[in-house]
């Protein structure tokens, strides 16, 4: 429901048509200490929309001696006791209970919990200023405040008496510089009458007390509202609460660093005030004291979508319910279901990396049974090409290549992966065989993983990326700026991988992997080993001789681990849908939210409940109506490539294109060192020389990064299929399908049918056939020898086949 903004701004009377409810957020408040304060907002809900009415609210305190509230909704303590804050707006009322304690207790600002947040918010310790590697102008702080103890020393001990002047606080550089009382390269950051100034000057005046080990520390954040559906043009104030290890909570709204992940939908200022600028969804991410969280804000599109569009959408499983719910919220209508031709082509390509043959297509199109799609899915999942495709995919993830592995090792690794796909080994079992394996790399191909990653840092980063979708690299040098991982946690993780022993095996190309009982990775700054600890998990003692990899594995595959299942589910989803629910798939961090959290959570839960069965997940995804959506847009979803309202058109992977060319032309691709007839998707090694595969974006498998594989069309690719030998020689081959068609005397019309069925999984339309037959006819030779005529006929067929095989209808999956 759209209401003119003007009406709200000008009047406190009930606006016509507004029939919602209001509430104060947060609903209860505990003000502890004389300097506590709490910002309150009034949030209205009406017909699925929220609205922030704080600016049209009259605030009153039931007990002005205990608690005061100003016109902006900021609550402050006056004396111990209880009170109720009432908000009146638009003829409605809401209230919040406030408790005040310690309002007159002795109070000193805390360096860790009051001064440090000021430095972070104001930007002193950001990477462009004093948080830089070498600091600025001789003054270095830890980046974004990850090391309060050292920062304290820097401020109070270095440059003695100047940065912090106990005798004359106002003359501390720590105050003179940011207020620009003296020249400061960073300019003026706050004024002398600000709260920032007050906190720092009072802290100095109290003797600049140091941070203590027993200080309460931040354990988490909470944001109000956590999610909201708003109108374009609306403004929404956020309130952020920090939770502490001593059980207290406080309002840190003004100290949080805000950013929006979708500037086209929402922008946010330094005070946490969000402005909705366009339709879509945005996550406003919050950073405070190395903790992160986000608020998800939605503005539906202004389409006219009848409810029936959602109600009538087929619901084959929970995926459809959750996708449609999101589309309804955004006001985007789903496209229609795809045709049978589109379905069979797409299903074969996405699940098995091959095209259906002309015969497969004819049979499927002629089948009239109601469950034919579901049965087709089952048949595809039983094919050997399915095994090849997923073995290849996991080989991409695990970096199987002859660049660092000798042939024996590479084959052992690949064979282990392929065997696992063949028997549908549960994903947690895959991980287990790698991380718990010991012994010969020949007997247990999985162990070649450790040959590829001999450095503990590399091993940790690859493992967290491949199995948890976490990019840990930034935390190597400092706290991860986008995530919550600290540098210490990073090295605690690395130390889990510091005892992988490798020695030569007895046979050719064989190594033996074993768990050492000693060895540490030293933290480069603290110069000591960190107790091996998985992220947010339990530490193990340094002197334990248990296989440290086991601790990592147990934590990783535990049902409580939020990333392990989610990571592989998201990657499998992305394979079929063209985009991960978290995108990119390598980046499952807290500040990179899923486009449909409920959907990803449910898929993950389902996967775990089915014992990490990848094939089950594939079957579930493929059977959904969401997967079977057409790629043709309707009036409301041309621009949607995020919420799965239509199938996302995507170029085929390099190997799939090459194999498809071989299949349609009937001419295999030779690969040096491999038996004739080996398909590209069966190669264990991306080092196998193939200019075609390289130019079409085959990954080098050097680092675990999904962007190694590219599917962008390039001029080089176009030149390759226009002038290169790969496709041209298949088309012209004397033993190829075109030559065969001619030899068998098949008519042009029937040849076209065959080409359409094998390349596009459909019959040509009447007009297509007419046009193409005319073109073929025009290219025939009127006069000449039989041989010359036959040659000309062959050439027109080749050229027409070329046109079909280089068109978008071939090279894309739709």
């Amino acid at each position: 429901m759209r209401l003119p903004a003007l009406l709200f701004a000008s009047s406190l009377l009930a606006a016509p048509g507004f029939a919602g409810q209001i509430g104060i957020l947060p609903a209860t408040v505990h003000l502890n200490g004389p300097e506590a304060s709490q910002l309150l907002i009034v949030e209205a809900t009406d017909g699925g929309f929220q609205k922030d009415l704080s600016r049209q609210t009259q605030w009153t305190s039931s007990n002005p001696h205990v608690v005061s509230v100003d016109a902006q909704g900021v609550v402050k303590p006056l004396s111990d006791g209880d009170a109720v804050i009432t908000a009146k707006t638009n003829g409605m009322e809401a209230s919040a209970a406030v408790k005040v304690t310690n309002s007159h207790a002795p109070f000193v600002w805390s360096f860790r919990n009051d001064v440090m947040p000021v430095l972070s918010k104001v930007g002193c310790n950001q990477g462009a200023c004093h948080g830089a590697l070498a600091g600025k102008s001789g003054f270095k702080l830890s980046l974004r405040g990850y090391d309060p103890e050292t920062d304290y020393q820097t401020l109070t001990r270095q440059s003695v008496g100047r940065r912090v002047s106990l005798e004359d606080p106002a003359h501390s550089l720590m105050l003179l510089k940011p207020t620009f009382a003296v020249r400061h390269g960073g300019g003026k950051r706050f004024s002398t009458d600000s709260l920032q100034y007050k906190i720092i000057s009072e802290w100095i005046a109290e003797g600049a007390p140091a941070p203590k080990a027993q200080d309460a520390s931040v354990t988490g954040l909470e944001v109000f509202p956590a999610a909201a559906t708003l109108h374009e043009g609306d403004e929404q104030q956020l309130v952020v609460m920090a939770k502490f290890s001593d059980g207290t909570e406080r309002d840190v709204t003004r100290w949080v660093k805000y950013s929006s992940n979708n500037a086209g939908t929402a922008s946010v200022d330094d005070d946490g005030r969000v402005k909705m600028v366009g339709p879509g969804e945005a996550a406003v991410t919050l950073w405070y004291s190395s903790r992160v969280l986000y608020s998800r804000l939605t503005v539906p599109y202004s389409n006219q979508v009848a409810g029936a569009a959602y109600d009538s959408f087929p619901r084959r499983n929970y995926i459809d319910n959750l996708v449609v719910e999101k589309l309804r919220k955004l006001n985007i209508a789903p496209s229609a279901q795809c045709t049978d031709s589109e379905f069979i082509r797409r299903a074969y390509l996405d699940a098995a990396g091959v095209l259906p043959t002309a015969g497969d297509v004819e049979t499927f199109l002629a089948d009239s049974s109601a469950d034919k799609r579901s049965k087709l899915i089952d048949r595809i999942l039983d094919r050997s090409e399915f095994i090849d495709y997923w073995a290849y995919k996991w080989s991409d993830l695990l970096l199987v290549s002859s660049r660092k592995l000798n042939q024996t090792a590479m084959w052992a690794f690949y064979d282990w992966i392929r065997a696992g796909v063949k028997e549908n080994k549960p994903w947690n079992q895959f991980a287990k065989e790698i991380f718990l394996g010991t012994g010969s790399t020949r007997e247990n191909g999985a162990l070649n993983y450790f040959i590829l990653h001999k450095d503990p840092v590399d091993l940790m980063e690859t493992s967290t990326e491949a199995f948890l979708g976490q990019r840990m690299t930034c935390a190597r040098c400092h706290n991860h700026p986008l995530e919550k991982w600290t540098q210490n946690q990073y090295y605690e993780m690395v130390n889990l991988f510091s005892r992988v022993g490798i020695k030569n095996g007895s046979r050719m190309g064989e190594d033996v992997v074993f768990a050492k009982t000693s060895g540490e990775y030293i933290h480069p700054r603290l110069l000591r080993p960190m107790p091996p600890t998985p992220l947010d998990g339990q530490s193990m003692p340094l002197d334990s001789t248990e296989d440290r990899r086991r601790v990592f594995l147990d934590w990783m595959t535990s049902s409580k681990n939020p990333f392990f299942a989610r990571n592989v589910v998201n990657r499998v989803w992305a394979n079929f849908m063209g985009r991960g629910i978290v995108n990119p798939v390598d980046d499952l961090r807290a500040t990179n939210p899923a486009s449909n959290e409920d959907l990803l959570a449910k898929l993950t839960e389902d996967f775990v409940n089915h014992d990490y069965d990848v094939k089950y997940m594939i079957r579930t995804i493929m059977n959904s109506a969401t997967y079977q959506l057409s790629s043709t847009a309707n009036a409301t979803n041309q621009n949607d490539n995020v919420f799965y309202s239509k199938y996302i058109v995507k170029r085929l992977p390099a190997e799939v294109i090459l194999d498809a060319y071989s299949q349609v032309t009937g001419v295999a691709t030779p690969f040096a060192g491999y038996p004739k007839g080996t398909r590209a998707m069966q190669l264990p090694d991306t080092q196998v020389k193939s200019p075609f595969l390289t130019v079409f974006g085959r990954p080098a498998r050097l680092i675990c990064d999904s962007s190694e594989r590219t599917s962008d069309p390039t001029v080089g690719q176009a030149l390759n299929i226009i002038n290169g030998d790969t496709l041209n020689m298949k088309l012209g081959a004397g033993d190829g399908n075109i030559a065969l068609f001619l030899k068998l005397g098949i008519s042009d019309s029937r040849i076209l049918d065959q080409l359409f069925l094998s390349a596009y999984s459909r019959y040509p339309s009447g007009s297509e056939k007419k046009q193409m037959l005319a073109a073929l006819e025009a290219g025939r030779l009127e006069k000449g020898t039989e041989e010359a005529k036959l040659e000309a006929h062959r050439q027109v067929l080749e050229d027409m086949a070329w046109a079909m095989l280089t068109s978008k209808s071939f090279l894309f999956n739709y």
């Binding site: 500037a263 080089g716 002038n723 290219g779 894309f812």
Partner: protein, 459 residues
């Protein structure tokens, strides 16, 4: 395999040369309609008098050490000054490392900016982003490379691609895949043409530039038409930017094929042996020679990546231990490689009257630690380093800015990547107040507002 001789133009059976037919449409292929282009020219965004400016960007992948190359500190303690000594150049007062004797004879042609710095993480990727786009990629925004911006604004000149990347894109330098070499939010339409071949290879040719001998030219023509016929009515591809991009790549491919001038530009074997030897018979040297030919053929912007990775290869990245490079490589390999190619390039551009119109930039992604490390090398140091700029109206023979006694921090006139970007755009005649269309049409300023170019370079 016998190839059609590039001397014979590819003519088609109707006698009409393909290039003529395609030229009118090629602007639209590159995403810029004629009216749009004229529109931009009218508002002065594209200065017609500057329309002929070119640029060659040499990416010194790995990060040259300022103390061992172009910002020597002979009076610093031994563990700072390193193993190399300064030599005089042909400009009084300017000295550079003894590893670049030929460069020393051309100091009048380039300016040294010794106070370059950035404040992002000291990894290769950030430097690549910042030095090629002026910014760090944040908030989901991928900024376009200078060459891609130039392509968007000016379009192609003739039939050659407007923006060429030699020889391969930067690959693995640790961490995420590097950025800064593509058109980012401008759209892949404006990505550079990537050579993907090694010009020092004795059999060097651009892969697949011409049809094979077994395919007659009338068939190439027919295939092109039939492909369009097959593709014509499929509406589902209209909303896919990848699909639209594929169409444009085919157009560009056919344009290249039918342009003799474009093909000839890549014919390195036409250069005399002595010239090829002068640049150095290695991938970088031959890429620089090819870059000169590109400019001569009308390419506006050429990027040459001196290396593609820093792992297991000798590059500027002299950490001192494997898989990185030792400090001695500046004397033994990397220094001479750069010295020969860079000075030959400047010399030849000058001789051919192209230097005034062609900005030549040589930049690494950061400098290196003033203190030599235990392995005898130097590590990453973005706080202070030296970049080189010359040609295209830049006044050579001068030093901009200065570092402190140990080359660790800018003492004078610190220069940020944003200022470098502003300087490049200024040199190319591009209005600094311009806004580019970002994702969802959001206007994004070409440089951070208020950023000034290094005016002293254009005095």
């Amino acid at each position: 395999m016998f190839r059609l001789d590039a001397d014979r133009p590819v003519e088609f059976c109707d006698g009409v040369r393909r290039r003529d037919f395609l030229h009118a449409g090629s602007l639209s292929v590159l995403g810029l309609g004629l009216t749009q282009l004229f529109g931009l020219k009218a508002v002065g965004a594209v200065d017609p008098s500057k329309d002929d400016k070119n640029c060659i960007l040499l990416m010194l992948v790995g990060g040259p050490s300022q103390l061992d190359t172009w910002d020597m500190k002979p009076n610093a303690p031994a563990e700072i000054r390193g193993p190399y000594k300064p030599i005089k150049t042909n400009v009084p007062g300017i000295e550079i490392s003894e590893n670049f004797p030929r460069m020393a004879k051309h100091a009048d042609k380039y300016a040294l900016i010794r106070s370059c710095y950035h404040t992002a993480a000291a990894v290769h990727d950030t430097g690549h982003q910042m030095m090629q786009t002026g910014r760090l990629f944040q908030g989901g925004i991928e900024y376009p490379n200078y060459g891609c911006v130039m392509t968007k604004l000016n379009g192609p000149r003739g039939d050659v691609p407007p923006n060429v990347l030699l020889p391969h894109p930067i690959g693995n330098t640790g961490g995420n895949m590097p950025h800064g070499q593509t058109a980012g939010f401008l759209g892949k339409n404006f990505d550079p043409f990537v050579l993907n071949a090694d010009p020092s290879d004795p059999n060097f040719r651009v892969p697949d530039m011409l049809p094979p001998d077994y395919l007659a030219s009338f068939r190439v023509d027919r295939r092109k038409d039939w492909r369009q016929m097959v593709d014509q009515t499929v509406s589902r591809f209209e909303t896919s930017s990848e699909a639209r991009l594929m169409d444009s790549t085919f157009h560009q491919a056919y344009t290249l094929m039918s342009s003799q001038k474009a093909r000839e530009a890549f014919e390195l074997h036409k250069e005399p042996e002595s010239v090829r030897a002068k640049y150095g018979l290695n991938r970088f040297g031959q890429s620089c020679l090819l870059a000169r030919r590109m400019i001569e053929a009308g390419v506006r912007f050429v990027t040459v990546n001196m290396f593609e990775t820093v792992f297991d290869e000798i590059t500027w990245d002299i950490h001192g231990s494997k898989p990185f490079s030792p400090i001695s490589c500046y004397r033994d390999l990397v220094g001479p490689m750069f010295d020969m190619a860079y000075s030959s390039l400047l010399e030849e551009l000058h001789e051919r009257g192209l230097l005034d119109k062609t900005m030549v930039l040589a930049m690494g992604e950061f400098g290196r630690t003033p203190k030599v490390n235990p392995a005898g090398g130097r590590d990453h140091w973005p706080q202070c380093w030296t970049i080189l700029m010359g040609g295209g109206g830049v006044k050579g023979g001068q030093v901009i800015g200065a570092s402190d006694d140990i080359g660790g921090s800018p003492k004078d006139r610190p220069t940020s990547p944003a200022e470098v970007a502003a300087t490049v755009y200024r040199g190319l005649g591009i209005d600094l107040h311009l806004e580019l269309p970002g994702a969802q049409g959001r206007p994004i300023p070409i440089v951070e507002r208020g950023t000034e170019p290094i005016q002293e370079l254009f005095a």
